[in-house]
């Protein structure tokens, strides 16, 4: 019986030889994670279980990244709850401020998430780890609490949709962000609801790991349960340097069943911008011509990785941020921050007139570090442009990759890099 990579991973973790879409299973977990917003709620629910300890202190990650360094007293209390729980439970994967990064940048970088894993996280972008060939999905705090207590979770086996990106003839500056915005633009914000999005083809093989993380990160913006890319040599090179435990590589069978198959040639995909207020409003960057922008954000679990900063720096080098624009650059982790410093990227940003922040989610979810006033417009490399996501309900967010973000910061309006170079 042929299976997809998602089906194979779930079957093995449920102790079954085969599974079919729609089937309900209970699977063993390799990791559970929560952040400083969802974690404290999970901890409260965990305590209702009446078990003393988490099921495995090596397999619980607690990442205080959303409102840290704490923006106010209430958020400091949330962090304190996490910190005390982490200490009491001797949680191995806990990072204090100064060592913490945006969860979905940090965990793969530190080798905590690996190919073949089943991972649940009380954060919807947990699907990011699919880029390693893992099954990873977001859940709420109560599901996470049950996972922390038992090491198991229930799942409905999702149908899979295959996205084949053909060719390697990318248009200049196009990255994983453009491919995923393009896909969401085609299928809509519920186009993959309850389903697995499997990305494959020469175009995907040509992408860096950083770009693959970006793609799987945004699977949830199409409603998907998970995004996934089967491991190849690039994946193995990435994880072998980091893994501290064994892992397993799975692949889809050639005759596995898909409910839908999309095929696009990467040569046909221009740089994308998603207009307010849904990620599905993806359009070619040229459609944004003349739209003035007040703030540009480069960072987040979608595009806060080293490659993103390198691309932005290549465009910003020797240039100035437009006088009407605030540019905020947020490296995803301390390691990325340090590497960007070594490579001189931070200096380029600061010389251009940008804010460079310590790793945090900050403005991505409208927490702090760049909140929008009424009527303001941002272009951001983050993943959601919902009403009010970054501040006032009457502000607007345009989503794009780092190249368009850097060009826009220079031009003061939505721009293609060629217009500023």
């Amino acid at each position: 019986m042929a299976m997809t990579i998602t089906e194979k991973i779930l079957a093995e973790h449920a102790g079954l030889d085969r599974v079919v879409p729609g089937q309900l299973i209970t699977a063993k977990l390799d990791l559970t994670l929560a952040n400083d917003i969802t974690g404290p709620v999970s901890i409260r629910e965990f305590e209702k279980f009446g078990v003393k300890n988490v099921w495995d202190k090596n397999k619980v990650a607690l990442v205080p990244d959303h409102f840290t360094p704490n923006k106010d007293i209430a958020s400091a209390e949330l962090s304190k709850t996490m910190r005390e729980f982490a200490k009491k439970q001797e949680i191995v994967h806990y990072w204090e401020q100064g060592r913490v990064g945006v969860e979905h940048c940090l965990l793969p970088e530190q080798g905590v998430t690996l190919p073949g894993d089943v991972i649940i996280g009380a954060d919807s972008h947990t699907c990011t780890y699919g880029a390693l060939g893992a099954f990873a999905t977001g859940v709420g705090s109560t599901d996470l609490a049950a996972g922390m207590a038992t090491g198991e979770a229930w799942f409905r086996i999702p149908e899979s949709i295959k996205f084949v990106f053909k060719g390697t003839n990318f248009q200049p500056w196009v990255s994983g962000k453009d491919l995923i915005l393009y896909a969401i633009g085609k299928i809509g914000v519920d186009g993959a609801r309850y389903r697995a999005m499997e990305f494959t083809g020469e175009g995907i093989a040509a992408l860096s790991m950083d770009s693959r993380f970006t793609m799987c990160n945004m699977a949830v913006e199409a409603g998907a349960k998970n995004g996934i890319i089967a491991p190849d040599q690039k994946t193995l090179d990435y994880v072998q340097a980091r893994a501290k435990r064994p892992f397993k590589v799975y692949n889809s069978d050639p005759d596995a069943q898909y409910v839908e198959v999309y095929e696009w040639d990467v040569a046909d995909i221009p740089l994308q911008v998603a207009f307010p207020h849904l990620p599905e409003n993806a359009k070619p960057v040229s459609d944004g011509k003349g739209i003035k922008i007040d703030q540009v954000v480069i960072g987040s679990c979608t595009n806060g990785r080293l490659e993103d900063l390198q691309v932005a720096a290549r465009i910003l080098k020797g240039k100035k941020v437009h006088s009407d624009v605030r540019l905020i650059v947020i490296p995803g982790t301390p390691d990325i921050y340090k590497q960007a410093m070594k490579e001189g990227l931070l200096e380029i940003f600061i010389d251009a007139g940008a804010v460079v922040s310590t790793p945090t989610c900050g403005p991505c979810l409208g927490g702090f570090m760049g909140i929008l006033a009424k009527g303001e417009r941002a272009l951001s490399t983050t993943n959601r442009n919902f009403v009010g996501r970054m501040g006032h309900p009457e502000s607007e967010i345009y989503l794009a990759g780092p190249a368009v973000a850097a060009a826009t910061a220079i031009a003061g309006e939505i721009s293609h890099p060629e217009e500023v170079l």
């Binding site: 969802t38 923006k71 109560t142 049950a146 519920d190 409603g223 979810l365 959601r384 919902f386």
Partner: protein, 162 residues
């Protein structure tokens, strides 16, 4: 009188409870800001027993359980929508917010209509228009989960019986 509050498609969790209020998680605090970015008057005017009617993909976006908690704490008896985003669906069952799926009811109910719902049978009535609808039944596993009173009692029960 239980009235219907109607919202459109793709109501996201940032609209249900904006992250700027998530530095606390007490249900009362969340309820005070429920649906704020979709309708600023909702939290002030909603009455205990009212219903939220949503379009397709209700609750899309973040995994925040704060969203169904806010709706429940605001006094909403049930949400009726064409379809739900998956994490919101799971979260609602886990925390005991009744959610019903019925595209027909969504079509047939307007803002302000008086509505009654029998949660056991899934029967939805529009008393203003004198029409009736049936929600899609939950799969048996979900029914067990709901009957147990949410995920934690359900899992606890299973462990004790194992």
């Amino acid at each position: 009188m239980a009235r219907a509050w109607k919202f459109g498609d793709d109501i996201d969790t940032d609209a249900i409870i904006p992250a700027r209020y998530m530095n606390q998680f007490s249900p009362e605090h969340l309820a005070a800001h429920c649906m704020e970015d979709a309708d600023v008057n909702f939290a002030k005017e909603v009455k205990t027993g009212d219903f939220i009617i949503g379009g397709k993909n209700f609750g899309c976006g973040s995994s925040r359980e704060h969203a169904p908690v806010a709706i429940k704490a605001a006094g909403v008896k049930a949400v009726i929508a064409e379809s739900y985003a998956r994490i919101f669906y799971r979260n609602s069952l886990n925390i005991g917010l009744p959610i019903l799926e019925s595209p027909e009811a969504v079509q047939g109910i307007e803002a302000g209509d008086e509505v009654s719902v029998d949660l056991e049978s899934g029967k939805i009535k529009n008393l203003t228009k004198n029409t009736a609808f049936e929600a899609r039944p939950f799969p048996p596993f979900m029914q067990d989960l709901i009957k147990a009173g949410g995920l934690i009692p359900y899992v606890k029960g299973r462990r004790e019986n194992a």
